[in-house]
Amino acid sequence: MRMITKITVILLLVNTMFSQQKDSLKVNKLQEIVVLGKKANKQKKHTSIEAYMETSTKVNMIRRGNYAWEMSLNSMTSQRINTTIDGMQIFPACTDKMDPVTSYVEVVNMDELELNSGQKATEYGNVIGGGVNMKLKKPSYFGDGLKIDNYINYKSNSNYRSVATNIKYSLNDFFVRVNGVYKKTDNYKSGSGEEILYSQFQKTNIFLQFGYMFDENNKVEINYISDVARDVGYPSLPMDVSIAKADILSVSYFLKGEDTFFDSIETKIYANKIHHIMDDTQRPIVDIRMDMPGYSDTYGFYSKIKINRKRHKFLINTNSYYNKSLATMTMYPEDINEKDMFMFTWPDIRTFQAGVYISDNWDVNNNISLDLSLRNSLVKNNVNSEEGFNSLVIFDKNANKTRYLYLNSTSVGVLEQKENHSNYISFSYGERAPSVSEAYCFYLFNSYDGYDYIGNTNLKKEKSVDIQYKYSLKLKKYNLVFEASRFYIMDYIVGFIDENIDAMTISANGVRVYDNINFVNIYNFSLVQKLALNRFIAFDLSASYHKGIDNNDNNLPLISPFTYNMGLEISYKKTVTKIECLGNTTQNKYSSHFGENKTASYSVLNLNTSFKINTNYQVKLGIDNVLDKQYSTFSDWNNLERKGIDLYVKIKLIL
């Protein structure tokens, strides 16, 4: 609390200092937009969605290798956050979190990432921590004809190479887009010069888009993404992935209202299929050879109605999805005469969810606006595999085969808008259903704490009360955003050690069964400042601090220590050079109970320069980790070492 007070005082001082200056301020509330495409005039900085996400102070990426990083938003991971692609629900197929949804899309498919905190993210599903909606590029009916962009990237450290081609063809009423990306990398080297084995990957992504405009008010859009990653190494895990494949299809219809009760209606139906195959054939020594395939199929729709009435902006989103999650494990005994050992790790779980989200943005007067949102949904879970269910009964005679949960979310926010600054505060209550793994998993090995996990079909809903605060200041040369949030989560779901159960995995420490604990508290603070001294020189500084403790004052795992990022950008003519220093302080608040250890502080230096030779030809050169520092952060799974010095070149060529 003392810290909040201090920060508030500082903010007030800053506020009075600059309050004479006038500038317009964009109303942004809590939503954070990470721009990938359209508005970004500068050449794309990063080559993966994950790297873009990490630029937000609310996000940390958990790394199990060089591929498919898992997002932590407001210090909460996958089961507590909602990841959607343009409103489509899509669920990973890997039981070991090796395929977060963000790994199945590419930067070139996206316009922007919409990050929402807490209950602000419940438009498409009930959630606790927040959500990211990755917005696909939109068709543009400019009648431009054919346009082709090409990108070539090379990074020295891991011999990373990628090529991408974006082809657009547009008439006044018709649009086609074909994007193709191919990436391949060898093992990378850490700061000590050591080769990190099993950190290679390769992937191909194809994005097809068709758009047709019947008239100004009626449009249809079809999007298809095919993403195939092969030979993906996970140096922090005991297994790799031979193939991770996603097919993502959606059809949308956009209707604009004229003289109707609504302003617009957007309806989408979608289907996606993920197929994920783990592989240990590249590892010379394993306890036992095994196959672990996982499948996740989702079908759904949403229909979004926007109604603007005087000072109100209403949004009603009705949506529903059906998901099938199935994963199995086959183990091959050393004695070839013995039969293979087989079990369901996700026993064909069918989840059905239907819900309605209603929000209103109400401009009470010129300074004050209120936003209110509500979501109610019904979730049904069913264990479809008799065999799989019979296995869950081993642990709980009263296991639920079918279960219905009713989920609520309510949120109220107030924005006070002054000439050059704004204050926003929101209060919310929300609930979530247990995830497939939390409710139904069967002996899933977690290499972080070394325990086998067992699901619990009788888990209570997790409930959260959150308070979020945002202060924004926007002056001519100086911007500042401070955010603070507190999540008080009741019936928090976590694995409890059960000493009566033998571990299944040969080298595991024991077994943990999911259960609810009374409550936890999660605090997040972040500060972002930008100062443009003149046309040539700009500074930026961002910092964040997070804390997570349970009801017994134990630290929660994977919570970031104090993090900072300082940058100096020098623009001269057509050249932009940026020097960046980022780091963590020592992670003293770690959770040894969940396999964490103290992570030392670090700081690294990055340097990059981009040249715009002409509008059609751009080159960017850079060096990451200039000093070749050997380091790993709190979010590196099993202390995986990060990349050492890395030289890169990126070329963009528009034909």
Binding site: P333, F342, N390, I394, F395, D502
Partner: protein, 280 residues
């Protein structure tokens, strides 16, 4: 789920439409054992009568065998009353003959009888099993007898041992079709009274510790088999977390609390000398 519902609906319709008396329901349940579900394993005949034996595997194996049989009269539908049935398997060894545990003889409906026989050894070139069934048809004693082939089961499902000058036979009855997850386990325990007679041993204590040797793990929440007076078997719960090869480590303690056979697993002892095997 859907199929279950259809069955239940069909059953209810059958019950309400087809029949009105509860007796009929009993018959439906009784005749639920249909010989068509089993394989004809052996046929014996004598003086215008023949007897067909059905088993699920179509062969006799060491361990527990459930036999279904029916006596028929050649050229006649009605057999008449059958009484005083005695079933006697005999192992014909050169020096001495012996029998094995036979239990649970009962009529299961429709003139079909069921009996369980636990063969403790397989037949071979020198020593073969024979099966004799004595019964009275309309007051006249008939004896069916035939040499049968008993094959060695792949996994250990029966064991014999001597303790305190008593010969015991212990065998696995259920699960006969093991599944992943929760299984009922039934174990038969007999002692040899003489070469031809075996008696159920009641009220001993058993422990059960299933293990997967190739993964070096067991399974949780098993229930030790306890004696069930109704069936004469020891009944418990066996949990198997996955398919594959399992060893069921057991111990047996008598009513005076003395260990008869087997060892509890420790860091040094990784398999009991009293065990059964299951692979599925």
């Amino acid at each position: 789920m859907k199929f279950n519902n259809i069955y239940i609906v069909a059953l209810i319709i059958t019950l309400f439409v087809g029949c009105k008396e509860s007796q009929v329901i009993e018959e439906i349940i009784k005749s639920s054992i249909s010989l068509e579900d089993y394989t004809l394993t052996e046929t014996m005949s004598i003086e215008g009568y023949y007897l067909e034996i059905y088993t699920s595997k179509g062969e006799f194996q060491t361990g527990n065998n459930v036999l279904y049989f029916k006596v028929n009269k050649v050229g006649a539908e009605d057999l008449g009353s059958v009484d005083n049935m005695v079933i006697k398997p005999v192992m014909n060894m050169m020096k001495m003959n012996h029998s094995c545990p036979v239990y649970g003889l009962s009529e299961v409906g429709g003139g079909i009888y069921s009996v369980s026989i636990a063969f403790q050894m397989s037949g071979n070139d020198c020593c073969k099993w024979s099966l004799t069934i004595d019964l009275d048809i309309d007051g006249e004693t008939k004896t069916f007898s035939k040499e049968i082939i008993v094959l060695q089961a792949e996994k250990q499902n029966i064991t014999t041992f001597v303790a305190n000058e008593t010969s015991y036979i212990m065998f696995l009855v259920e699960p006969s079709a093991p599944v992943k997850g929760v299984n009922d386990i039934n174990i038969g325990l007999f002692k040899m009274e003489n070469m031809m007679s075996f008696a159920v041993v009641e009220d001993y204590t058993m422990t059960l510790d299933p293990q997967m040797p190739s993964m070096a793990h067991g399974s949780p929440n098993n229930e030790n088999p306890v004696f069930d007076i109704e069936t004469g078997l020891y009944k418990g719960v066996l949990n198997m977390t996955m398919s594959g090869y399992w060893v069921l480590n057991m111990t047996l303690t008598n009513t005076e609390d003395n260990l008869v056979k087997g060892e509890l697993l420790t860091d040094e002892v990784n398999q009991s000398s009293l065990f059964f095997e299951i692979e599925f």
